[in-house]
Amino acid sequence: MASDPTSLPSPSDLSIPNPSPTEEERLATLNLEEPTGNHAPIPRPLSNGSSLSADFDTGNEIEVAEEELLGDSTDLAEGSSSHGGGGWREISEQDGEVASCSPSSSGYAGERGSSGASSGIEEVDDGVALQDDWVPGKRHLDEDDASVSWRKRKKHFFILSHSGKPIYSRYGDEHKLAGFSATLQAIISFVENGGDRVKFVRAGKHQVVFLVKGPIYLVCISCTEEPYEALKGQLELIYGQMLLILTKSVNRCFEKNPKFDMSPLLGGTDVVFSSLIRAFSWNPATFLHAYTCLPLAYSTRQAAGAILQDVADSGVLFAILMCKHKVVSLVGAQKASLHPDDMLLLANFILSSESFRTSESFSPICLPKYNPMAFLYAYVHYLDEDTHLTLLTTSSDAFYHLKECRLRIEAVLVKSNVLAEVQRSMLDGGLHVEDLPVDSSRRSRSISPQMTQENNISGSRPPHMALGGPAGLWHFIYRSIYLDQYVSSEFSSPINNSAQQKRLYRAYQKLFASMHDQGTGPHKTQYRRDRDYVLLCWITQDFELYAAFDPLADKVSAIKTCNRVCQWVRDLENEIFLLGASPFSW
C-alpha cells in the first residue's frame, strides 16, 4: 500500500521548529484549480494549537472555491459525479464511471435491483445486520462452487496452497471447493510459467485479485467495485491474520511436502477470518493503517500508561489495554515497536475468539510485522465486559509472572478509577459532528476576527440543520501521520445504519486509494460530489482528513468546516490520542 509506514518521517522531524505557515498556504492545498501548485506544509508538532491562523478564510480562496462549486452543481444536475479541474480529471472520471454503473455507490436497493433477485444475499447478511446481530463464524457451509447462491455472493476470499489445495474460503466448505481452488492455482501458475505475475483479472463486473506469498496464494473475487489497492490490502491483512495464528514457519511444511494440506492447522479459526473480513466494511483501521483510541481525560490515560510502563519494565514486551477495538493505553519495552496492522490483527483475534472472555488465557501468537517467524506468548484477560488487557512476552513460561502483572495492573486501574472512566467513555461515545465547536479558535488562545461571520454561516445549528453537523457535515476521519492514530466521528443520523456506514467506508476507501495512487499521486486534496455525498480529503505532512458531507453541502462552508474539524481535533488531541511514551520507534 502507498501508506507504507516505513516511509513515515522519523520522529526527529517533529522537532523542527514551527515556521507557522499561514493558513493561506494551508487552504491553498484545498484549491482544486491548482492541484500541483500546493505549498508543501512544513512539518510541525501536532500539538501546535495555534497553527490555524485567524485569517485562514481569505476572500481569494473562497471565490475560487465558489466557481468550482458552480461547476459541481451543474454536474450534479446532470446526474453524474463531479469533475474537478485539470489534473483531477482522471480521478473524477474514474469516479464518474463508478457512479453511473456501480450499484454499490447508489445504495442497496439499486444494488439488488441491478444484479438479480438473489444477489443481495451476501449484502443482506453482512451489510444490514448490525454488529450486535452478527453471528460469528462461517455461514453457508453447505454451499460450493456449483451453488447458485455461492456464485452470487459479492465478495469471496480464498486462501490456497501453491499446489492448489484449499486452505480457507469465506463461503462454502473448503473441501468441496478443491476443483475451484485448483482452477485459481492454474491461473496463477500459468502466468508465472510465462515469467510474469498476475495481479488482477477483470471479468465483467467482477474483479479477481491475486496475492502470492511464497507457497500461499490469496485470492479475492469481488463485484463490490472496491479499488484494486483496497482489495490487495485486504488480502495482505488476511495473510497477516494467518501468520498471527501460525507464523511464517508454516512455509517449511511446504518445503518438506509441496502437497501439504494446511487447512487443519487453521481449525476453529473461521470466526477470526470472518470477523476480519467483516471489519473491512466497518473498521477504517483496515485501510488507514492506524489505530484509534478511546477518548479519555489525559490524566486517566496517563495513569493507565504509567502502570503498563511499570509492567513493561519487568520483562513484558508489549502491554496493551483496549476497550473493544479502541486503545486505552499501550506500552512497549525499549526499542520494541508495534505496527498498527499488528494491533488490528491482534485485536481482531482477541475480540473474535470468544474463549478469551471466559477466563484468563495464555496463547502463542505471532505479530507478523514484528517478527513473522516467531511466536510470542500472549496473556489475555478481560477486566470487564469490554476492556481487555494483553501482555505479550517472548518467554513461554511467563504465565504466572504475567498473571501477577495483571493483578497489579487491575488493582491500580480500579483504584485510580480508570476502568470506570473507560466505561463512561464507552457510553458517551466519541466525537459527534453535531458538537463541532462554532469556532474552535474560541477554545484556543487566538480569537479569530472572522468569528462572528463564521457564526452566521453555520454556527448556532439552526433547526433545519438538525441532521448531521454544521454545513452538512455527516462524518469525518482524521489520521495523525506521526502518531499512526486516527479518530473518526460517531455516525450521525444521516448515516444511521450499517449499510450506509459500509457504503461510506467504501467511499472513503476509494478516496484513500485515489489519494495514495502511486501512478497519479500522491495528492494533497480532493473534493468530489456524487449523489450520495460530498467527500473532501486533505492530506498534509501531519495528517489526513476524510470528511463526508450532505451531497447538497456548500463547498465553501465544507472547506471551512474541514478547517474547524482539524482545529477541533488538535484542541482535543490530549484526550483522543495516545501521546508520548510511544512504543513506535520510527
Binding site: I245, L246, P264, L265, L266, G267, G268, T269, V271, F349, S353, E354, S355, F356, T358, S359, E360, S361, F362, S363, P364, I365, A378, S395, S396, D397, F399, Y400, H401, K403
Partner: protein, 201 residues
C-alpha cells in the same frame, strides 16, 4: 514430596513449564495441584471445566485459543481442601506441539474424548502415550468419555474405554458437561487419588 515431584529442577530444558508457582502442595490439609485437560477439539474440555468451576453449560461452542487457566477449590470429606489450577488446552492440531508447555509439571492430566467419536478416542490414546513418555512419572491420569447424554449416538463402548484405562493404570469415568452428570465426581475421584505429602509442614 508427593505431587511436588514436578518442580522446576526438572524443567531445565528448552521448554519451560507453567508451574513457577508450583503444582505442588502447600500443606497436608490444603493441596494445590496443577491439572491439565487434553483431548481432541470439540470433545468438551472447556465445557467440563466451566461446569465444574462455574456450574455453567454453554451449548454454543467457543473454540479455546492456546489454553485457558481457571481454578477451583473443593473440600473433601476428610476436611482437606484441594485447589485445582486447571489448564484447559486447545484441541486444535496447531497447538499439539505446544502441549508440553501446559502439561509439564502437571500433577494430574485429564484426557477427554467424545463417546460419539471414535477419532477422538484414538486422539485420547495419542495423548496418553505422550503423557506416559513426557509427563511427570507420578502423574495421575484420568480418561474421561464426555457427552454421555448422547448415548444413542455412542460409538465408543464403555468396555473398550475401561479396558484401555485399566491397561494404562488410569482412572476412567463417563461424564456429561451438559447434564452435569459425574462432573463433580470426576474431580473428587481425582482428589482422592492424589498422593499426599507424607509429613505435615
Amino acid at each position: 514430596m508427593g505431587c511436588s515431584a514436578s518442580l522446576p529442577a526438572r524443567n531445565s530444558g528448552q521448554l519451560g513449564a507453567l508451574n513457577s508457582e508450583g503444582s505442588a502442595v502447600s500443606d497436608s490439609k490444603n493441596l494445590r495441584v496443577k491439572l491439565v485437560l487434553l483431548g481432541d477439539s470439540g470433545v468438551g474440555k472447556s465445557c467440563i471445566v466451566l461446569r465444574f468451576v462455574r456450574g455453567q453449560f454453554d451449548p454454543t461452542s467457543k473454540v479455546t485459543v492456546g489454553a485457558s487457566f481457571l481454578s477451583q477449590t473443593i473440600a473433601l470429606q476428610d476436611s482437606t481442601t484441594v485447589k485445582f489450577e486447571i489448564w484447559d488446552t486447545a484441541g486444535q492440531e496447531r497447538y499439539a506441539a505446544l502441549a508440553p508447555l501446559y502439561y509439564r509439571g502437571a500433577a494430574v492430566a485429564v484426557v477427554v474424548y467424545d463417546i460419539t467419536s471414535p477419532e477422538s478416542f484414538s486422539k485420547a490414546q495419542y495423548w496418553v502415550k505422550e503423557l506416559q513418555k513426557h509427563g511427570s512419572p507420578d502423574i495421575v491420569l484420568a480418561l474421561v468419555g464426555n457427552k454421555a447424554d448422547l448415548h444413542e449416538n455412542r460409538s465408543v463402548s464403555s468396555q473398550d474405554a475401561i479396558d484401555y484405562a485399566e491397561k494404562n493404570g488410569m482412572f476412567f469415568i463417563e461424564t456429561s458437561a451438559k447434564t452435569a452428570d459425574n462432573i463433580n465426581q470426576l474431580f473428587e475421584e481425582i482428589a482422592k487419588r492424589l498422593p499426599r505429602p507424607t509429613s505435615a509442614s
